[in-house]
Amino acid sequence: MSAIKTLLHWTVRRTAPLAGSLAKPLAAPAAALLCLAAQPGLALGPEITRAGHGAAPGTEAAAPRLKPLPPPSLNFYGSPGLIDMPSAEMLPDGQYAVTYSWFGGTSRYNITFQALPWLSASFRYNGIQDLGLFGFDTYYDRGFDVRARLWRERRWLPEVTLGLQDFAGTGVYAAEYFAATKRFEAAALGWGRAPGRLKLTAGLGWGRLGSHGAIGATGGTRPSFVGGSTGGKLATDQWFRGDVAPFAGFEWQPDARWSLKAEYSTDAYETETEVSDVFERKSSLNYGVEYQYSDRLRLGAYYLYGSEIGFTAQIQLNPNQPPTPMAVPAPHPVIPRSQWATQDSHWRQDWAASQSKQRQIRDLAAAALKADGLVLEAITLEGTRAELRYRNPRYRSAGQAAGRAARALAQTLPPSVETFRLVPVRRGLGLAAIEIRRSDLEALEFDPEAADALFAAAGVQDAGPLPEDAIFSGELYPAFATSVSPYTKPAYFDPEQPFRLDAGVDFAASYAPAPGWRIAGTIRQRVLGNVKNGRASNSVLPHVRTDQVEYAQFGTTLENLYVSRLWKPGRNLYARATTGLFESMYGGVSGEMLWKPVNSRLGLGLEANYVVQRDFDQRFGFRDYRTFTGHASAYYELPKGYLMQVDAGRYLAGDYGGTFSLTREFDNGFMVGGFFTLTNVSSEDFGEGSFDKGFRFRIPVDWLLGKPSRSGFGLTIRPTQRDGGQRVTVPDRLYGSVREAHRKSLEDQRARFWE
């Protein structure tokens, strides 16, 4: 205990003599508040949910809650922290934070994702007005941060976090730090009935965070920041080298909405104030006040460096906390056969011999499925077994779709059918077979452990071939589908204008002549947009992706037009063949094969494409660039919804290499991930950024609207779009849709089976 107490003393006292002018304003209230806080070591994890203070039993405030406590506030870099300085806090697992901050001509847009409980990553786009350096008037840059918690807060021990700021870009904000934060909670700290909170933070910074008030240096001289370089390399030669300076500050939260912050900053802003003249740094003390406007939005106003006014807007989302909880129309309960099949004659199997009775049953089942938004593709009826092949255009959760399909069968099939084999189908491809006994369905619906019990009793297998005596739906094959819908297409990070957008309408049509076959096309009409005013390509590689602006000159285009076939060549195997115009830039022929056993977390794939670059007008013409591109891929499902994918092969510009991507997919479809590609293109040839990398995310429509949908808004953002390490986009790639219906996904979604 005493050693831990010493550490706490260190965090408070060490700052006082060193911080000079900070000593008086900060140390006095800190000491006073420390005395007030009778119980200093309240280690509050964000995952703890507690009932309201002093709420009467029987009220909602006293009942168990699943809503998390308010998350930590963020700093100007979008990470948990004070004002310009970081703290040691972590956001709740999976949290997504988007922040905008502005002061003294410096604006920063930050996106932070809490990838693991102890690890977060940020991406930042910043602009420094009137910097007048490196050939830009306003200097725009991008950067990545990563933070790792070394240990959690305990009774007397502060939370300690290691951070690398702007560690891979050109490094205008490059800094490394250790920060320690201790939280206190006491009634005396609050101004209402609920107790208030105080957070004390102290740390050591290198790089930018060691540029003012240094107390020493480690590892020799730090290589300095060079603006306008290609960037993209890990700046390992800089990390924890050069001057080191201690910073400190506190955040006082007298109630749930307000907080007051003060800090001593060790960022000298040399580039902004000495090399250039963006603002004047008169003091090292910053002050601020923040207000939690709503559950998701927090606003702050600040006075920084003795001369500047600043403000922030912080938006935090958690994929596990949808804005509207998902409400699905209640299913009709399963009525046990014992209630309606009361005579022996009801249980006979002679209906199975009659074609017309089978058709009648098929139509009844199709109508029941349709009421739940599912589409009967084919059904195979035997005396005691039935195999249903169905499409699921409505539910994201394959488990929920299977539950609804099972209920529809229980409602419509003759009593003698005891085994249901449910085969979800996508584009004619059987994805898996879920085998359920009808008696289990009847017995377990109201069981206290309904979801776990049913999943334990169900079997998940390979879909297998389509049975020969399957009766197809009368309404499909051939089937025609059309849609008219709006679209948007963004372009990012042009120094002239960081964000551009095209918007318009897509007219799409598809025709399915037989199971697995599909002919589809989309005509795109732009209505407004400014992507066409972007930068022309300066790439020395074949312009496989950087001619975006040339393509954007045309407003009425044929987005795609292709024929595809999906089929199952064997057990655990899935195949696709596509030919036509795949996307706005490429057309050709493409083949793919995937091996993915239903119960395995590993999948292996092979894809080969021969593609020709399309004309800029995106009609039927082609340019004279043609190439072979193809990859071998390995997919692995890790715990906590992480998906790892490794691809190796030949990319569009003829370069060879590999892509590594790590994605976290929440079971409600929310997805966040990052990737990088290394190929044999040198960083000089690649240009800005040195190699291809980026991140992607998807926000599901059902998460936004609180009602079932399979759609989502996805974005892939690259700090720079270049020509190295690029792949062609082919519609209906296999892995995503196949994985969705396999064991891991069904198990994760088992709670939704009965819903």
Binding site: A63, F446, S485
Partner: protein, 230 residues
């Protein structure tokens, strides 16, 4: 000129958005689903649902089937439900499923809420202290709620309860007073406290819960249920 062109383009875009549609056995595009959802929302704002008719015994007597009235306290929403199913399973207690016309259902075991559907973030299943022939909770002890949480997952809330008989307390439901006893279940656990109240028929042999106020999970909160039959 450019302003006119911009306005024309914006009008064209708006017209096309409204004209957005999809046909055929394929999934609708995401943009379209959002546009339609927003349209629905605006439609609902414009035409709020009609206020419920005043409830009288004469009106209830005309109904061919029994109704229950369910009020969700935190939404101030009241609905009238009809019975969709009555059955038993391997656990003690009679199961009843009641349902609204707009597809919300509540399931009970001996008058205790064991599941809600169609409400959003509902109660998936529950273990309740039911016994055959006893209305409402038969004893104190463990209660377990499985609720929707963490996206598409579930969370289990375990609670320890004690049962208290607060004596005879007749209840009046739409012009009829039923003889009843007031039972109270006080539960603690999973970081909170819950109190469930039941007004059970006090006539011998009856297992009817005339009225109750029960907790149905963190999202739905407390619900009040009244039996409207005679």
């Amino acid at each position: 000129m450019s302003m006119i062109r911009f306005t024309a383009a914006a009008l064209a875009a708006a017209a096309l958005l409204l004209a957005g549609c999809s046909r055929g056995p394929e999934k609708a595009p995401a943009e379209l689903e959002v546009v339609q959802a927003v349209g629905d929302l605006i439609g609902r704002r414009r035409t709020p649902p009609p206020p419920p008719a005043g409830l009288t015994r004469a009106l209830l007597d005309q109904q061919p089937q029994p109704y229950i009235e369910v009020t969700i306290e935190n939404r101030g929403a009241t609905a009238y439900l009809t019975r969709a199913l009555e059955r038993r399973d391997s656990h003690p207690g009679q199961i009843e499923v009641w349902r609204t016309q707009d597809n919300v259902s509540v399931a009970f075991r001996q008058g205790m809420v064991i599941a809600t559907r169609g409400l959003g973030g509902g109660l998936l299943s529950a273990q309740v202290p039911a016994a055959d022939g006893v209305a409402g909770p038969a004893q104190g002890g463990a209660r377990r709620y499985t609720v929707r949480a963490n996206g598409n997952g579930q969370a289990v809330l375990n609670m320890a309860c004690s049962l208290h008989d607060l004596g005879p307390k007749p209840v009046e439901i739409v012009e009829i007073t039923h003889p009843a006893r007031h039972l109270q279940e006080r539960c603690d656990g999973s970081g909170g406290a819950v109190v469930n109240d039941y007004w059970v028929d006090s006539r011998p042999g009856s297992t009817r819960v005339w009225q109750s106020r029960q907790w149905a999970g963190p999202e739905t909160g407390y619900v009040k249920i009244r039996q409207l039959r005679r």
